[in-house]
């Protein structure tokens, strides 16, 4: 008894400390403030489709990484706090091969025009080849004589063949002047990969034409006169000095390694998010109070225990949302909690210790981004979290009716409710994990994450916390009054099966 009470006090003290942590880190400048999704904080969510059809399969992931880095740099220059730039690939679920997407989130930015421009305006630089033979064939064809502006003739442009050399392989661009014509030109320095490729191309194609394309437009097509081994090149055209300067700036910011197209933009003003946050907080508090009243009226003393367990559930979940999660850590914690149910409650303590250790290693966990759907999921989980307790208490009542002592009935209640709790929670985990891994939008995955964390923590509190608390305050004497307060409902329990 004393042992149980000491443990129960210990749990409540720990919960209070965690509660203080949740409360004290609520300022927005705290590193552990709640991480609000765009739909709550306001901002812009952009999805681009990346066209990787022209990149060799082996280089795609490199290209996407550099695409992400470049866009990130652009966005940072734009001055957004905490922007998110990520790439996404969905091969398994798409009908037409792999699709690559670039997702850009700009919290607080609601006027997106400029941001979209600065992301999308980066030029796509490509180097293509046209052999001397084809050039002369084209020049003598009727097509060429009929076309006034050769550089815009699609037949002519289609003659150029890909070389694999793109702006991705440019390490630096600068403003230079052509020594003979004094025209401004863009000087290019290639990366080491680019230098090798450039050398190979120029060596093999002396006398052919090298077409330099910016965003699909042919800027110039000089004849390759010599192998260029030093990895330097020039784009000459009919540029003004200003045009060259802006090109150089764009190329240095990053010529996009692959073309991107905006396929979705979502802008959420700050007022809508604030409304959802306030509504969510109010709904959470009211729901908690009504559920607590219901529990105490129906389940009496155990109901009070369930209410305390529910409060600890809320505190723990909020702390986990702040500290963060990772799929592997969550799965491992779930396994430990199942072991706590099956074998010994101490496995539950192991789950807590394991999680705390993981939270101390920087970079293992990432904070849960709360969205409007996530808040709804959390409030839903407050309602569902009570289930394990209700299962246990109903079972306890049956055991009491069968004439067991209070303490026996409690032990039996916990022991026998275990299979139901296990089986029913597994189905919730199946739903949660499918939603998390297959979910198409951040709304859905945000909900799923909160839901899975909620189900996991509710199992933990039902098994470990309610159990210890209930043992701690179990009435020592078995009389009519004590049997009343640990029982529940308003109907007398009926004696049913094989008692």
């Amino acid at each position: 008894m004393l042992k149980h009470r000491a443990r129960a006090v210990f749990i409540i003290v720990i919960a209070a400390v965690i509660g203080y942590f949740v409360y004290a880190t609520n300022q927005t400048d705290s590193t552990h403030a709640f991480h609000l999704g765009l739909d709550l904080s306001g901002g812009t969510h952009l999805v681009y489709k990346a066209d990787v059809s022209k990149v060799a399969a082996a280089d795609v992931s490199d290209a996407m990484t550099s695409l992400r880095d470049l866009v990130e740099r652009r966005v940072n220059i734009f001055g957004v706090s905490e922007p998110l730039v990520q790439t996404e690939r969905n091969a398994a679920l798409s009908s037409a091969g792999s699709e690559y997407k670039l997702i850009v989130e700009l919290p607080g930015v609601t006027n997106v025009d400029e941001a979209v421009k600065s992301i999308g305006a980066t030029p796509l630089l490509e180097f293509k080849l046209l052999t001397a033979k084809e050039m002369s064939a084209y020049a003598s064809s009727s097509q060429a004589t009929a076309t006034a502006d050769v550089e815009k003739d699609p037949v002519y442009l289609a003659l150029f063949k890909e070389t694999g050399l793109t702006g991705r392989m440019v390490s630096k661009a600068s403003v230079e002047f052509n020594q003979t014509t004094n025209q401004p030109v863009v000087g290019l320095t290639f990366t080491s990969d680019g230098r090798d490729l450039f050398a190979t191309i120029t060596k093999a194609h002396i006398g052919d034409y090298l077409g330099i394309f910016l965003d699909g437009k042919l800027e110039s097509s000089p004849v390759i006169r010599d192998a260029i081994l030093d990895g330097k090149g020039q784009i000459s055209g009919t540029f003004t000095v200003e045009e060259v300067q802006s090109l150089v700036r764009s190329l240095n910011f990053g010529a996009l390694p692959v073309p991107i197209y905006l396929i979705s933009s979502q802008t959420i003003g700050p007022s809508l998010g604030q409304e959802a946050v306030n509504g969510g907080i109010k709904a959470g508090i009211v729901a908690f109070i009504v559920i607590a009243l219901f529990l105490i009226i129906w389940y009496r003393l155990p109901g009070l225990v369930a209410t305390i367990a529910l409060a600890i559930y809320v505190t723990l979940s909020l702390a986990i949302f702040k500290l963060g999660v990772s799929p592997l850590v969550i799965i491992f914690c779930i396994v430990l909690i199942f072991m706590a149910m099956r074998y010994h409650w101490a496995w539950g303590a192991a789950a807590i210790i394991f999680y705390t250790l993981m939270a101390m290693i920087p970079g293992v966990l990432s904070p849960v981004t709360l969205t409007a759907a996530g808040i709804a999921g959390f409030i839903l989980s407050i309602g569902m979290a009570v289930d394990a307790n209700i299962l246990i208490f109903e079972r306890m009542k049956e055991e009491l009716v069968r004439g067991r002592s209070i303490s026996d009935a409690m032990h039996e209640g916990f022991a026998r409710a275990w299979t139901s709790i296990r089986d029913s929670n597994i189905s919730s985990f199946i739903t949660g994990f499918v939603l998390y891994f297959v979910g198409s939008t951040s709304t859905v995955t945000g909900f799923a994450l909160v839901f899975v964390v909620g189900v996991m923590v509710s199992m933990f509190t039902a098994i470990t916390v309610s159990r210890l608390l209930l043992y701690a305050i179990a009435p020592a004497h078995d009389n009519k009054f004590t049997r009343f307060i640990v029982s529940n409902g308003f109907r007398k329990g009926k004696e049913t099966l094989n008692s």
Partner: protein, 303 residues
Amino acid sequence: MFVIKYRKLFYSISVILMSASLVALFVWGLKPGIDFSGGSLIEISYNEGQRPQISDVISSLESIDPAASVRVSGNNDFIIRMKDVSQVEKAAVMSALSLNGAASTTVKAFDSIGPVLGEEALRKAYISILLVIIGIVLFITFAFRKVSEPVSSWKYGLTAIIALIHDVVIPAGVFSVLGHYAGYEVDTLFVTALLVVLGFSVHDTIVVFDRVRENLKNSSSIKPFGEVVGESISQTFTRSINTSMTTLIALVVLYLLGGSSTEHFTLVLIIGIAVGTYSSIFIGSPLLVTLERWQARKSEKKS
């Protein structure tokens, strides 16, 4: 147990609700939101008293999208649904909404989703529904693999699927009616809500099945299967009702106070969980009894 005794009555209630839902779904279908169909959804707020007439806004938008629809929201807001607009067109839309600057506006939300993304979301929605159902059926079959007398374990799975279809079809039917009369759309959150309902309903059904399993194991005398199931339902009855109660309390509070962005989501959950509780008590387990009777009748005929 009255649930078993009057099971035909409870079946009929469900059959009526399901048929009505299926008819609504066939006649009206579901109205896809922009998540699935692609398009734009704009929530715009006008300064107090400056909100123009709907017809003015519609005619102002005509040159960009003649099919644009505008509806009123709150005192000063409009919600506009139109085709997917590009970044360039967006400026034109904004100026059209302010009637070329005559009214000052604040954009609360501006979502524009291309058709490619919509198709992908739809495909993923189907895949998740399929995966959840497969996962749950496999799990039930596995969990009840040792129960074979008098009803084999796959029948528990089958019964659970029937209950699941029931729980998904009815909320979908309600949303089909609401879509027709009140313009409710279904989006990715709608699908998410349906999946949560699936999980919850199975969760409820399993608790009863679990009790059936335990009672079958423990019963020393040979009791009729119907009686064992009836007892199991009555033992878990209060628990099923109470768990659904606390969950519904949370959801109703959320529906009333939670703000507009999750209103429809919460409504699907409320309907689904109410129906799911009904099916796990009045449909799932009684169906086991019905299956057992059929089985018994068949073997009688053989002998």
